[in-house]
């Protein structure tokens, strides 16, 4: 505990510390343990009165059912399409703007960055009605574009990238400019290679943000065939006929991508998160 007993951390304190941490950790991972354990149980076993986290008879039938009967891969595919194009478009649009706002002063630049970052506070839930009507006007209901385009503008991405671009010394660009390179060349040939670490962080945040989307698919996806994984899962779980073990298998499959991404890039993730929170 933060130098509270730095000199002589007694055994009692150590035990107490581990005890607290283990209790908190169990609370944090219990839902995952439950989910994984239920996904390997038979529909009969989950209805037993005496609960056990370890299934008595391991079965893969829930996963097979989710795959071949419920076609979970279809919704997985929909989510991947939305995430892929969403992340790419978002990063392109936001990084171009962030670069211009970090490097150039032009009429309205301060106004723009204030507005862009300010949109971070807009609650999605409050924008449901107007957003739905706009998407309907453009004929974007029930197609991928309707789920992808609204997530392109993201204030957090503009903010993070412009903060980073400001740190890059301007001299690096000056010489290229004297040599007659266009702004776009400078951006792609000089700025982008220098910004690999920050783009790593931005991609991860962006992916988690896009994968997390629920409200926009809820407004856009009317037919089941176009639903993203989270939306389809929420519907599945509210059908009284669906079996808990199968829903558990489906949720396990759906959780894997975010956890893998997080474990692979946790350092960037946590750094970006705390810096964003403290500055923003």
């Amino acid at each position: 505990m933060l130098s509270l007993e730095s000199k002589k951390e007694t055994i009692t304190i150590k035990v107490l510390k581990y005890f607290c941490l283990i209790i908190i950790s169990i609370f944090m991972i219990l839902p995952f343990l439950w989910m994984i354990s239920a996904s390997f149980k038979s529909p009969g076993e989950i209805n037993l009165l005496h609960y056990s986290l370890i299934p008595k008879n391991f079965t893969f039938s829930n996963y097979l059912y989710a795959f071949f009967k419920l076609n979970i891969w279809k919704y997985f595919f929909n989510s991947v399409v939305v995430a892929f194009f969403g992340v790419i478009l978002q990063t392109i649009v936001c990084s171009l703007a962030a670069y211009a706002l970090a490097r150039f002063e032009f009429p309205g630049s301060v106004f723009l960055i204030t507005i862009f970052i300010g949109t971070m506070m807009l609650p999605d839930a409050a924008l449901m009605v107007p957003l739905f009507r706009i998407l309907r006007t453009f004929g974007l209901i029930n197609n991928y574009a309707g789920m992808i385009l609204p997530i392109v503008p993201w204030g957090f991405s503009v903010f993070m990238l412009s903060e980073f671009f400001k740190e890059i010394p301007a001299e690096l660009e000056e010489s290229a400019r004297i040599d007659g390179a266009s702004a776009l060349t400078i951006f792609t040939k000089i700025i982008l290679p220098l910004s690999k670490p920050v783009f790593g962080a931005v991609f991860i945040f962006s992916f988690i943000m896009v994968w997390d989307q629920f409200i926009i698919p809820l407004l856009v996806a009317n037919s089941q065939s176009i639903m993203t994984l989270p939306l389809w899962l929420a519907n599945l779980s509210s059908e009284t006929s669906s079996n808990r073990t199968i829903v558990a298998a489906a949720t396990t499959l759906a959780t894997i991508p975010s956890i893998i991404i997080f474990l692979l890039f946790q350092r960037n993730f946590i750094q970006g998160l705390t810096s964003g929170a403290v500055k923003g």
Partner: protein
């Protein structure tokens, strides 16, 4: 005109760079928020758009479910802020210094933050399964406590809905607190140690004041994030039973897309927007101090 043209040519490069963002932000953020106010004072059921003045706002004042949803959301916010901050701070205190297993504990506590909200809501909903065989009910059975209805129990549902929200914010708060705790002056702590201060005194008089900024930050962020809570409430209860878990956001959704009264939904959304905006201004003001 000539002047505008010249200004444009002079700044052509940056303007071209921001143009795509301007289009996207205008279309999906700026226009919707402006449109929201317009919608709330027009009748838009059949897309005609007759001006109806503040009728929707009058309706809102007499809408008991709205007031209930405001109360429910406020209770959720208070609980999430209180327990989320305390547990986050406790975890951060335990995990700031290096020791064996520190990294693993940090990851375990942080993992809920990166999971998908709606999916995790599905998992919690199943853990709250109301029959005797439900996971939490079988845990209760170990202690001879009768099975609960959880999300179906009008008295319990709101609190059952709040637990996953607390669960999901602890790791996030912890990370901000850890960053802040690293900056606490070690010499000051050692001096206090020499003078015989116990850990409680050190916590109250040195550590908490030194991390005041982070604590305020976490409190405000949690308030802002929780007031707009929609997805867990929609997935787990959709406001049932008897609107006991209705939040402002689920009520906006229901009015707009179940009862198809979009104008009224917009009026409700304006209220949510104003709450968030007032809180944000408050935060900015505080931050600049």
């Amino acid at each position: 005109m000539e002047k505008i043209k010249n200004t444009f040519l002079e700044h052509k490069t940056p303007l071209m760079f921001v143009l795509p963002a301007v289009i996207f932000f205008t279309l999906f953020k700026i226009f919707p928020i402006l449109n929201l106010f317009w919608l709330s004072i027009h009748q838009v059921d059949k897309d005609i758009g007759d001006f109806i003045g503040f009728k929707n706002y009058l309706k809102l004042i007499h809408d008991q479910v709205f007031w209930l949803s405001l109360k429910n959301t406020t209770i959720i916010v208070i609980l999430v802020v209180f327990f989320g901050t305390i547990f986050g701070y406790l975890a951060a205190l335990l995990l700031t210094e290096d020791f064996k297993g520190q990294k693993l504990f940090r990851i375990l506590i942080f993992i809920p933050v990166v999971t998908t909200v709606s999916i995790i809501a599905v998992v919690w909903k199943m853990m709250y399964y109301p029959a005797n065989s439900g996971m939490l009910n079988s845990l209760l059975a170990y202690f001879n406590i009768p099975a609960q209805q959880w999300l179906a129990d009008p008295k319990l549902a709101l609190y059952a809905l709040t637990v996953p929200l607390i669960w999901r914010i602890i790791g996030y708060n912890m990370m901000i607190f850890i960053a802040a705790l690293k900056g606490v002056d070690k010499n000051q702590l050692e001096a206090a140690q020499v003078e015989g201060a116990n850990w409680w005194q050190k916590l109250i008089y040195i550590i908490i004041p030194a991390t005041k900024y982070a604590i305020n930050m976490v409190l405000i962020l949690a308030v802002l994030r929780t007031y707009k809570v929609f997805v867990p409430a929609y997935v787990m209860t959709s406001g049932d039973p008897q609107h006991k878990t209705e939040t402002i956001a689920t009520w906006i959704y229901k009015q707009s897309f179940r009862y198809w009264d979009m104008s009224y939904g917009a009026a409700l959304a304006v209220v949510l927007f104003l709450i968030i905006m007032v809180l944000t201004i408050f935060q900015k003001k505080f931050q600049s101090e």
